[in-house]
Symmetry: C2
Subunit: 896 residues, 2 copies
């Protein structure tokens, strides 16, 4: 049983339809659907994406049956139109167009006017009674076929055209040298010359005459479209857009219609609503006497649809009908391409229109209000990028030229949004220079917790190493601060305070702009736009909250972050990292450093006692902001060496400030050095070794809670122990926690409820979750660490090899970066085991996630599937998590 490789459409009938995007590509499916619903569409046929897949799988050979299928469909097309390809008297001309299942604008190739040769050009000329038009069509076809199918440099053809314009047209028209000549100024004789010269260029580069056989032309064009699928720019586009699992492009062979037959013809593109604002206004451009490529090339300036209406009121009315039909048919805003051939309208393409984040919300809400779609459908249409797009500052897109001129290099866009400012190289300088009212960009090889103050003071952060979950990225994301990481081309010289990239030198104080969405870096200060969410956003999020079942909390470490999180819809804090509180001021830094360099319990407690009132005040602030919502506080987690200076001069400074001998400090810090700090003395292992740290932290939490409660605030503290690997370990900590907490509660004489739980972030904890659940009142999955350990991949080092793992072309081992989107197969299996075995022991066990994945839609949905109670993520990602959870419920309901 042979497979069907080609789908025909024409004369209001089509073998395919609009749902077959996977097989026919967006364009092929759109043409089939429009044909079916009776719109004026030129006839043609679509070769499926499967052929593209087989073509690559078989070393660039077509399946053997394809040849006959093309012949059959071509014959069918010729019969329908009543013309023959290559007919010297009245030739059928076709366009050969690419079309992937997902739109890849500008990435793929199209060849127009195929079927013309030295003879048929004259036939067309006679038939249309327009020799200039025919020659121009032939000229275009030679240019396109030569450059696209045969790799002749396009500039060579342009040169020929320019030469004729200069030497012949200009002379003929007696035009001054510095005046630009339009293509339409070139006359028949001159076009004949262009055709002749273009064929010579073709022969020079290809080594053969320009093909006169239309079949040879057709196969050449089909091959060119398939080859464009694996062109560098297409691969890059798919990587950047994270498009995976698409098997290839389809090829549509479509009867040509001509917008370049004079002033009654033209071509246009339009959107059924305004793609920038979302307003219900017909929006588009029209170019008289032109083929599609002219619009793209931007040689002449197109007119607005309102002008088109004035020029062609009848055709415009037809187009308005089409707009109405298609939008109500597809129930979404459409992006249309059309051609007018001597006042007759032809629809060439129809697809769901790309739109700005603002328009996305507006259109979705409007369509619900218009009764076109349901609230659920509206919610399903919002993507995480739309939410990002309405919150993060962006580069003003009107500066295209400036952008291109100042483009410097590309890194990994870790936190979206844009930022510009003066380059600084140390956290200290960032703080100082920012304090003087400057906007600064902190540029580092990598960042460490020491840098947090400077990072906070900066507009954006740029690092030479690291991936999307490196320290810089994680911290910046927490603040929604623009961040680009892993820009390996950066050669930073801290001593000279400069960096060099691709030969360009940037010195401290020079201005740069980061685009965290694309990862692009520009060597100037660009204008940024700072959006505010539209009304429609709030409408959608109201629906989202009605639909979703899981709670969304935020990871927040300060009262400020907590407030921000509440504003973005967080229903509690899922991760409050106590250690982040230690970096804000020098007083705090010194207190923690004093605690760390202490080499006996007495001096350690002395340091801790200085920290206690600071932490307590912070907790009070957080509890106040989270009045009525739970706050999960994780006790100290990072290895202690992350808190202390590693340079001798800074150690000496510390020595003076805390009055401890330098040698002692140096020795203690040396002792703290670890080969693999990620797997070292951190997490609850710190409180196991130094129980006094636990005592201080629990005291701060519970005293703060008691005092807040006395003030009438509803507090629900949840005390969480990190890096647990064992029930016995948790039991020791839990008993100490309760002991400290219960004594304080008794002292305050207040009825305060609190819970004690465990992070599940080490594989062993997931494996032994049933035992741990005997002690823990809640589980919170720390999927950053769990991913690192389950995969044996350090996220700080992954930048060196993980790109090879996620690169489809090199290995394709991972579909997604497992630090961005949860590895559901491996890490997810451990999570599933832990949830099931934990709930078996304690069926009301509260379960959440507080890793980076808690704000990534696919991962969030996976957590919902496992039966979590909540997800927790950076405040900025709270709306995204809310959305994903609502979408999950809708998708589940739809599947049933």
């Amino acid at each position: 049983m042979s497979k069907k490789y080609i789908y025909f459409f024409g004369n209001k009938q089509a073998e395919g339809n609009g749902t077959m995007k996977e097989l026919l590509g967006g364009k092929g499916a759109g043409l089939a659907e429009m044909t079916k619903i009776g719109l004026p569409v030129p006839a043609g046929f679509t070769i499926t994406t499967e052929v593209c897949d087989l073509y690559y799988k078989n070393n660039k050979n077509y399946p053997p049956e394809l040849s006959k299928e093309v012949e059959d469909n071509l014959l069918k097309l010729e019969n329908l139109i009543g013309k023959k390809l290559g007919d010297p008297n009245d030739p059928l001309l076709v366009s050969v167009r690419s079309g992937a299942p997902i739109s890849m604008p500008g990435m793929m190739e199209t060849i127009l006017n195929l079927g013309l040769n030295d003879k048929s050009v004259e036939g067309l000329s006679k038939k249309t009674n327009n020799r200039r038009f025919s020659l121009d069509a032939y000229r275009r076809f030679i240019f396109m076929f030569g450059s696209i199918a045969m790799n002749v440099p396009k500039e060579e053809f342009d040169k020929v055209f320019d030469k004729v314009k200069e030497e012949k047209t200009k002379k003929r028209l007696n035009i001054q040298h510095n005046v630009k000549i339009h293509d339409t100024d070139v006359n028949e004789t001159e076009l004949e010359e262009v055709v002749k010269l273009a064929k010579e260029v073709y022969k020079k580069y290809v080594g053969k005459d320009f093909p006169q056989d239309p079949k040879e032309q057709l196969w050449g064009a089909i091959g060119a479209v398939f080859d464009s699928w694996m062109a560098e720019k297409a691969i890059t586009y798919r990587r950047v857009e994270n498009l995976k699992g698409i098997i290839g492009t389809a090829v549509s062979v479509v009867q040509m219609v001509f917008g370049n037959k004079g002033n009654t013809s033209g071509t246009g593109v339009c959107f059924t609503r305004d793609p920038n604002t979302g307003e219900d206004e017909f929006f588009g451009d029209y170019l008289t006497n032109a083929q599609g490529e002219d619009v793209v090339a931007g040689i002449r300036t197109p007119v607005k649809l309102s002008d088109f209406e004035k020029m062609h009121p009848k055709t415009y009315a037809e187009l308005v009908d089409v707009r109405k039909i298609l939008e109500s048919h597809y129930k979404d805003m459409q992006d249309l391409e059309f051609t007018v051939e001597e006042e007759t309208l032809y629809m060439l393409q129809c697809r769901t229109g790309k739109r700005s984040p603002f328009a996305t919300f507006k259109i979705a809400v409007d369509m619900v209000n218009e009764g076109v779609i349901s609230k659920e459908d509206a919610v399903l249409r919002i993507r995480d990028k739309d939410i990002e797009g309405i919150f993060y500052p962006v580069i003003d897109s009107s500066q295209k030229d400036v952008l291109n001129k100042n483009y410097l290099v590309n890194g990994i866009g870790a936190v979206p949004g844009a930022a510009s400012g003066k380059v600084v190289f140390t956290a200290k300088e960032a703080e100082d220079i920012a304090a003087n009212g400057n906007r600064v960009i902190l540029v580092r090889k990598e960042t460490c917790p020491d840098d947090v103050g400077g990072m906070h003071a900066s507009q954006g952060i740029l690092t030479a190493t690291g991936g999307k979950t490196s320290h810089a990225a994680v911290v910046a994301r927490g603040w929604g601060k623009c961040c680009i990481v892993g820009c390996e081309k950066l050669e930073i010289d801290y001593n000279k305070k400069e960096f060099v990239v691709d030969g360009v030198l940037i010195k401290q104080g020079d201005e740069i702009t980061l685009d965290g969405t694309t990862g692009n870096i520009y060597k100037t200060s660009l204008k940024l736009v700072n959006p505010t969410p539209p009304e429609a956003y709030y409408t959608i999020m109201k629906w989202v909250d009605e639909i979703r079942l899981l709670k969304v909390r935020a990871n927040a470490d300060t009262p400020y972050d907590a407030k921000h999180a509440r504003d973005l819809g967080a229903e509690g804090i899922g991760l409050c990292r106590t250690e982040h509180m230690f970096f804000d001021t020098e007083e705090r830094r010194l207190a923690i450093q004093e605690m760390i360099v202490a080499d006996d319990t007495v001096s350690r407690i002395k340091g801790l006692n200085k920290l206690l009132p600071i932490q307590k005040e912070d907790f009070k602030g957080i509890f106040k902001e989270m009045d009525g919502f739970p706050v999960t506080i994780r006790l100290i987690d990072p290895p202690l060496h992350e808190f202390v200076p590693h340079e001798e001069d800074k150690q000496k400074e510390l020595s003076e400030k805390i009055n401890v001998p330098f040698e002692k400090i140096k020795h203690r810090i040396e002792q703290l050095h670890e080969a693999n700090p990620m797997l070292g003395h951190r997490g609850c292992r710190l409180c196991i070794a130094y129980p006094e740290i636990l005592t201080m932290q629990v005291t701060a939490i519970i005293e703060a809670a008691c005092e807040c409660k006395k003030d009438g605030i509803k507090v629900y503290p949840e005390i969480m122990h990190p890096l647990i690997i064992d029930k016995k370990e948790l039991k020791i900590l839990e008993e100490q926690t309760r002991n400290v907490a219960d004594n304080i509660i008794k002292r305050y004489n207040i009825d305060l409820k609190y819970t004690v739980g465990s992070m599940i972030e080490v594989p062993r904890a997931a494996l032994l979750a049933d035992q741990i659940a005997e002690v823990a009142e809640f589980f919170s999955f720390g999927t950053n660490d769990l991913t690192q350990m389950t995969l044996g991949i350090s996220r700080d080092d992954a930048g060196k090899f993980l790109p090879i793992y996620t690169d489809e072309k090199r290995t394709g081992i991972f579909v997604n970066d497992p630090f961005q989107s949860l590895d559901q197969e491996g890490v997810g299996l451990l999570m599933k085991m832990a949830v099931e075995s934990g709930r078996k022991v304690k069926n009301n066990l509260k379960i959440g996630i507080c890793g980076e994945h808690g704000g990534e839609p696919k991962s969030v949905k996976f957590c919902a599937k496992l039966g979590f109670d909540y997800v927790s993520c950076s405040p900025f990602r709270v709306p995204i998590a809310r959305l994903a959870l609502a979408q999950y419920e809708i998708e589940i309901k739809k599947k049933k």
Copy 2:
């Protein structure tokens, strides 16, 4: 229903028996058993270990029922003997003795002569007609009760005794000042004085008079024994001996018999066979007119049993009978304590005798030959330490004084055996100085693969950091080379070439001795003894090999190691670490370094081509040694930065030698730096990024195999990919491996079989083992890494906190160090899942282990239980693994 806390014995009847060691302690069970089989044992009763457990669980309170049970049993004892405790006319005297389930020699306390007071001492005096004896017994009791039960410094009592000896006895006997006076020289009057003064000392320290109430004495003594269970030295002993899960000590209250009643009395200890050689000769010491403590105190020199025979032929004959009865009763060599009271023999203790490793083998084999025990029982009696003891050099134990005088510090004994030599601080110097015929000890803060040459040239290795599975320990263990790690007190100054420890300065060239068994370090060169295995060892190992079902392979990287492994019984190589081949010579080091600093494929291949012939020759040598046995070769595993120098001067040296600019080398090495190298760019990730490394290594393996096979050698290469996390990843590597290998085999025109398999050392691989088994022909568990990742513990950094986790007193979270003995609960669960899911897909999947655990008995048995095909370990541990596997089969059979 109340529990029974006390077991009575006497008059040939006993409530307990020899099997009840757990409950009655070794001593109590031995006394009960000897009583039962009719031997002359003084009567008494044993308070169980459970009481000790309850005592500690209840905040040092006894169970309420105990008091009455003690009363009842004391009454029973008094009735049996016909005397009463504290009777002023004819008092019953008892000893109160400790006795844990496992012998802890010298660790626990015993109090003799209890029941004496100011009145009963006179009754005893009349009854025995020996006032001197009575006063001496009273004096001893006051000393023991005072120092042991009431913490009076023992020296204070000794001072009193010495004072009387000096001022009274010496004067009376008119003896010169410098002549030593024996206790037996002191007369009645003088002893009266001693008793008086001792009671004054007691009152001074305790604040009360010496107790005259025998019940008060008894309870004080019982408490003292229980308290001794948690004394520092007892805890230390249990930690050093890794004794876990013992709930406490028992207390035996036993009728006193007296070896100090003159020349017809005495006391002795003996072994039923020679504990040093294992020869079937009665072996022991006897001391006339003495109590047990005198033998231990070493005040007088005891005589040999042959002299005892001459002195007391009849009693000796009785003792010989007892020897025969007990050895055939217990079917093992026994350690006996006896007392002769006026020619009457009393047995005071009987337990399985400790013996030297040599004696262990000899006695086990002899007893099989004598028909006393089965071969299986003989095999069960051998411990891993016995095998270590007959292979590793040891410090000559006759140098006790020298040892004590030169003791420097204690570290973690990582590889047993001893070594002495001159201190050096760099691997280079180790090589140079050793090349001149010196024995050297390499002292480092930590070692890295760069140091391997110098480590090999050294007699022993000492590091200031790291645990038992740090780099130094693992490498040294592979060679069976003495190694002490984690000696944190060492303050090493590489510049000055010296280290300081506890104020003692050791400079380069000074001689030190390491005892890798105890972890002790001595500041001189001590005499070492280098044993050769006895005949009995080979007999036992023959039985072992007949019994065990799993194969034992070795981890070996060179032909030399391979030969050594074969000599020790390895049946193949389970882990050949190709990278270890790169360090032996400068030529090799330079070749790999050239490959690593290459920043493009062409120069990388240039470096690889230099390595190819070297690796190939090594593989040929290994295949030759392993003729007929499988060899599993793991492709390159460690992160590349481990192979290159990190100091600038060495980088400059390298730059000159391989003719690559210094700046380029420096930049490349900087690029290679990783935050957590354990989870970084290593393992198969290297071959994924640089496929040319795989090509070179597989070429070397397969060409070597083909050439060996042509020479008639039976080769079974197994190519193993490390750090696999995914089926797709393995598939890419497997295909490339087969592609390279099959082409070579075709070229050699030879029929060579090889297999391709996967290490399972990342949790994800264990979780997805079913998928990986679709590609892999074998699994080899790398339990070092699997433990690190499953527990989230870096073995190099674990030294800082793992001791707290394994310390029963501090947390007791782990029963064993999980890097020494497999974490069966956590890591073991992952292994079990992987074995089951892998075999479900491929039921003939070959499964082995090649981590450090492959030579640790408990872990080896666990692998057998999971159904492994083989275990692989360091050559030195091959006999231990063989033994453990045989013991596993015997234990399984016994359970059925």
